[in-house]
Symmetry: none
Subunit: 403 residues, 2 copies
């Protein structure tokens, strides 16, 4: 784990550009036919050239055997320790659907549930009602007004929604109202420390109104809230690492987690890698550090679509020359975690990492970007949270430590 307070005292000015290009869920597992992973099966002539000119390695997102969610995986890539500084479920769910969470806000994750006439939960997930039924319900709940806070609510998926309260003196120290079992009523909103008493009352007021408005629904006639949390007040990325840092991402989750880290989110049109690299060109002068996020490899991996994931990687490779034309001094190509098509889910496997910095990298003997080559790469197996200091160093942005 990088020592952020040491790093933050070693900044050096340099006229260099760093790009962290993240293909979400990049890491994979071998297919039976030829033992190749998605990345190994993909035709990636440009990344292979960068491999010959640079160094490979493997990046461990959280620790041995730990499969990260998207939030912790990115915090780790950004140099933070997501276990020492957990970001609440409510915050992650909210930023994931594009709700802004500022310091002092209280965010929660909500579930619609089914309640019997006696007020007891019969289904904690309201039969996993489809999006098209849940969406209008959250819109109905968006009309609720409470004294002392502004409330934002947004549908997530199926029975899930996100809720953010903004107002003076709010405190996220509230207990879940989800009893984690059927047969009893949802729990009242309770403060887990006295200073959250006012917030508990306020949220309970919102919940009571919500139950009124859900009355008569067949499946989603109740709700529970959990994961109450606020902005984790991370040490700001630009200040910690001494760079003007920008985020180029299509999905709200990644824009949100970048914003939590204090990066500036770049607005742009489009959603392909080409569009993102064009946005990078447009923002090039304003930033020393650009985080660029490509979602599709993860989505195809979650679908179990090996070929689709390989093609999504090839798309990035085809677009890559436009990014290289900007002449970054340091480019890291990696993922936030692995999503092997074989497992159809995030996994704990270390993530391929390609470090290209023509002026300052050693070379290794690898010539194709892939898991097997990365395992034998010159960077070895490293903690994801060590990557940013490594990029800064390669960009001439860290002073010597000690005399």
């Amino acid at each position: 784990m990088a020592n952020l307070s040491v790093i933050s005292e070693l900044h050096k000015k340099a006229n260099t550009h760093i790009v962290l290009l993240v293909m979400d869920g990049l890491g994979g597992l071998p297919r039976d036919s030829d033992g190749k992973t998605e990345l190994e099966a993909a035709a990636t002539p440009t990344m292979d050239r960068l491999t010959r000119e640079g160094t490979l390695g493997l990046s461990v997102p959280l620790g041995a055997g730990l499969t990260p969610g998207s939030g912790p995986a990115h915090l780790s890539l950004f140099g933070y320790d997501p276990i020492a500084r957990p970001v609440g479920r409510g915050v992650l769910e909210s930023i994931g659907v594009g709700l802004e969470v500022r310091p002092g806000d209280v965010a929660a994750r909500g579930n619609f549930c089914s309640i019997d006439p006696q007020g007891r939960i019969t289904d904690r997930r309201a039969g996993r009602i489809p999006d098209e039924q849940a969406q209008p319900l959250t819109e109905r709940l968006a009309e609720i007004r409470v004294e002392g806070a502004l409330v934002a609510i947004r549908h997530v998926r199926e029975h899930r929604f996100a809720l953010v309260l903004r107002g003076p003196d709010l405190d996220p120290a509230l207990e879940d109202t989800d009893p984690q079992a059927t047969g009893g009523p949802p729990l009242p909103v309770r403060a887990s420390r006295p200073s959250a008493g006012k917030t508990a009352t306020l949220v309970q007021g919102w919940v009571d109104q919500a139950f009124e408005r859900l009355r008569g629904e067949r499946l989603a006639n109740g709700l529970t809230l959990r994961g109450f949390s606020t902005d984790p007040a991370l040490p700001p990325f630009p200040k910690t690492f001494g760079v003007r840092a920008g985020c180029i991402a299509v999905y709200p989750m990644y824009r949100g987690v970048s914003a939590l880290a204090g990066m500036q989110v770049v607005s742009f049109d489009g959603e392909t890698p080409e569009d993102e690299f064009r946005a990078a060109a447009g923002a090039w002068k304003d930033f020393d550090f650009l985080f660029i996020h490509v979602k599709k490899p993860d989505s195809r991996g979650e679908d179990g679509d090996f070929e689709g994931k390989a093609r999504a990687i090839e798309e990035v490779d085809r677009a890559l020359p436009a990014l290289l034309d900007l002449r970054p001094d340091v480019l890291a190509v990696t993922g936030d975690h692995s999503t092997p098509a074989r497992l159809r889910s995030h996994s704990w496997h270390p993530v391929p990492l390609l470090l290209w910095a023509p002026a300052t990298t050693r070379r290794d003997v690898q010539d194709h970007f892939g898991e097997t080559a990365c395992a034998a790469g010159g960077l070895g197996t490293m903690a994801a949270s060590d990557l940013i200091p490594l990029l800064l160093a390669h960009a001439g942005r860290l002073e010597k430590y000690g005399a």
Copy 2:
């Protein structure tokens, strides 16, 4: 170092079997003739097949340059930090000879010593009296009765024995009675905190009776005690890792350290690898996780017997198909530490590790299980204490961390 409190909250039910097969002292050093280690010189066709289907790596028991004893080495393999949570010498020595140590017991390591007529120690090890002389002495001391505790004593080797006291309100906070020098008398039993005063008096009473019974012995006419300690109250392995965990081992030390970790010790007849794998078959339905310990490679290494160690490894390889017939989902083949025949002792060298989990491992390019291949293996060089979380992940037994 795995974060056990994080791991313990991520359990997922799965119908999978994990086997941790430990060849004690597995790691070696190259012989002069052809530069092969014991493992590399051994014919291991089955392990080589698993190598082709799995991934290799090196496991560091405690840290760079640290040579572990058997106790710390196994605690590390079981996911604990034996430096943060040291297990007392008294406990390790006692479980090593099959004395049970429960929470609240007080265990110590004893040395017979030689005393002159003025009561001064002339030899701290009683001339390293042979087992056949020391054994009857410990039997004589086993007859001593003290008020307030049951006392168990067992011969270890040469001048060494182990002592365990069991009774109400015992406290292991006692200072060593071994002055670590000759020319002075053994120290009295002193409490290092007030709550151990009663225990000090009780142990002193036992010591006084022991001196009575040793009077007139030529060499072993006195004794010293050290390493007073109790069960370290490790977070129980089954609860921490969410598995029904069993131990299959012949030697008391390994059964003891497994019991300290809360594993269930499987009884069985015989002592060869075949016998142990037969025991695994018998216990298969009762456990999700089996630790199987094979002692011989370490013993031959300590003898300086390179060929004998290689043959001991081959014995395991020949028996291995019977274990594979049980269809484990995840199999790790490794050692607790290195015992190079060349050094005739435990060493600090990282330990070969083979991870086989057909559904969930990446492959690397290695095709023979050995130190050189492991150093270039896909798992890299990892902390031994990270192994269990990795095995759990490969067995589908850990949830994602964070959203």
